[in-house]
Amino acid sequence: MVRFFEDVRTVMWREWLVLNRRLGRFIFSRMVTPILYMLAFGVGLGRAVQMNGGSYLDFVVPGIIALNSMNISFNSVGSPLNMAKLYHKTLEEYLIAPITTPAFLCGKILAGAVRGMISSLIIVALAFLFGANLALSPIFFALLILNCLVFAALGAVAALLMKSHEDMANFSTYVLVPMSFLCGTFFRADHLPQGVRLIVELLPLTPASHAIRAAAMQTAISEWWLIAQGAYLLLFFGMAHRLMEQIRRE
């Protein structure tokens, strides 16, 4: 058990070395898309739109936080791990070492979630600069962390599954981009046609954007959203574990 935590720390330590070296650049690059989203949807479009009496900016910021934490957490694990497996072959260094699959995955996923959290905090700060109102409670941050973990784990699944960098890019195009726009991020999912809505409600980003918005606006949080996210986290971790064990048994 002590070994397990030691190994998780080792894997995270490597990620931290890499992030720390580029922390400044990481933070600046993470500001670009959220600023554009807030300008376009919050300020530009927001002037013309009213959401149940409240401002559209207040509505859309939690959605932007949800989709951004998804994208950053996914990509922080997804592309580097896929490259480590296919091109740099640095995954071998972990396969040759006496470290278990769960420890390896926990380290990578937690490190990805840390990046997701850093970029989320940047957006929260930007949102206040844009004049948005959101309530920052412990439950708000807990939900955010949970969402980061879910999509960091999905990043691991995609990285271990995809056989080329192009497939990785396609996964983003077909899975992440549609979720970014449809899962209750920019507009309420109940505005969608019935059939589409049913599918959208089942996607992993939807409960996150519902719950994060509810926490930010201090409305009721359904426990089903938490159960769904927890289930997705377990599912993705299990899938990543299976794929990694398959690689070990090639």
Partner: protein, 279 residues
């Protein structure tokens, strides 16, 4: 130290390793020699647990691969054929990552890292990013990394491929020193000189099968220690003899321009596999 029993590895219908049985004693320096695609890398990857065999068994220091992998992992060091250093880290950070992944004591690891960086003559580049290193420097760093946790067996897959002659000779010295200090070595190569220089026994493999296994000298002796060579209509012909006298007598009887020289591993190789090994 290393035992292979009927090792087979098939990839979607193609058999890369086809019933390899051999054993390497503790302290030996052993070479797998064979042409491209002979199955050398596949064999090393099975021995280092990066691939699972289709059939057969492997034992390292008495532990069976697939049964006691973590025990084996602490005992072996691996220098793969391709560069797999972490280019996002410095030389020293690469070594620290390896030390931590192998659960080394922090103080011991620090001292060992300094010692090995000196050993592979990279102390002055320790804090530079690996991406800026030349091929020879990367390979030396990979050797340092493989030795860090004090393995008893070192696997080297084509340790000097793509390096210039000076660097190659320095690496040979390094490898000899490690062997002299008691490390068991299993290396693959298709440079015949390398096997001759470094190894006390050589296994010649082709198409995943063992063709011969002896000391370089014994392999040459089996063929005949002296060779008479001549050109016949643009083709090189040769015959092998046990003694120089016998070779000279034969040379005198042929009506072509002949040359007499000592048999080397390359001759053995060509006779056995029927083609020249070249880079």
């Amino acid at each position: 130290m290393i035992e292979l029993e009927g090792l087979v590895k098939a990839f979607q219908g193609r058999t890369a390793v086809n019933g390899l049985t051999l054993s390497v004693a503790r302290g030996e320096s052993f070479a797998l020699l064979g042409p491209n695609g002979a199955g050398k890398t596949t064999t090393i990857r099975i021995l280092t647990m990066l691939l699972r065999p289709t059939a057969g068994r492997v034992f390292i220091a008495g532990h069976e691969v697939g049964q006691a992998d973590n025990a084996i992992k602490q005992l072996i060091g691996v220098v793969p054929q391709h560069m797999n250093l972490d280019t996002d880290l410095t030389a020293k950070e690469n070594l620290w990552l390896h030390a931590r992944l192998h659960h080394m004591d922090k103080q011991a690891a620090g001292a060992r890292i300094a010692e090995l960086l000196a050993f592979v003559e990279l102390s002055d580049r320790a804090d530079e990013m690996v991406g800026t290193f030349s091929g020879g420097m990367k390979r030396r760093l990979m050797i340092a990394r493989a030795l860090l946790h004090k393995p008893q067996v070192l696997f080297l897959d084509e340790p000097t491929v793509g390096l210039d002659p000076q660097v190659r000779r320095r690496l040979w010295d390094l490898i000899r020193r490690m062997n002299a200090e008691g490390l068991t070595l299993l290396l693959t190569t298709h440079y015949i000189e390398e096997a001759e220089q470094l190894c006390n026994r050589v296994a010649i493999v082709d198409k995943g099968k063992l063709l011969a296994l002896e000391s370089p000298r014994a392999l040459c002796q089996r063929l005949g220690e002296f060779v008479v060579e001549w050109m016949d209509e643009g083709k090189t012909e040769n015959r092998y003899f046990a003694t120089r006298e016998a070779a000279a007598a034969y040379a005198g009887s042929v009506q072509y321009n002949t040359a007499i020289r000592r048999t080397n591993l390359e001759d053995v190789f060509v006779e056995m596999t029927g083609r020249k090994v070249r880079e």
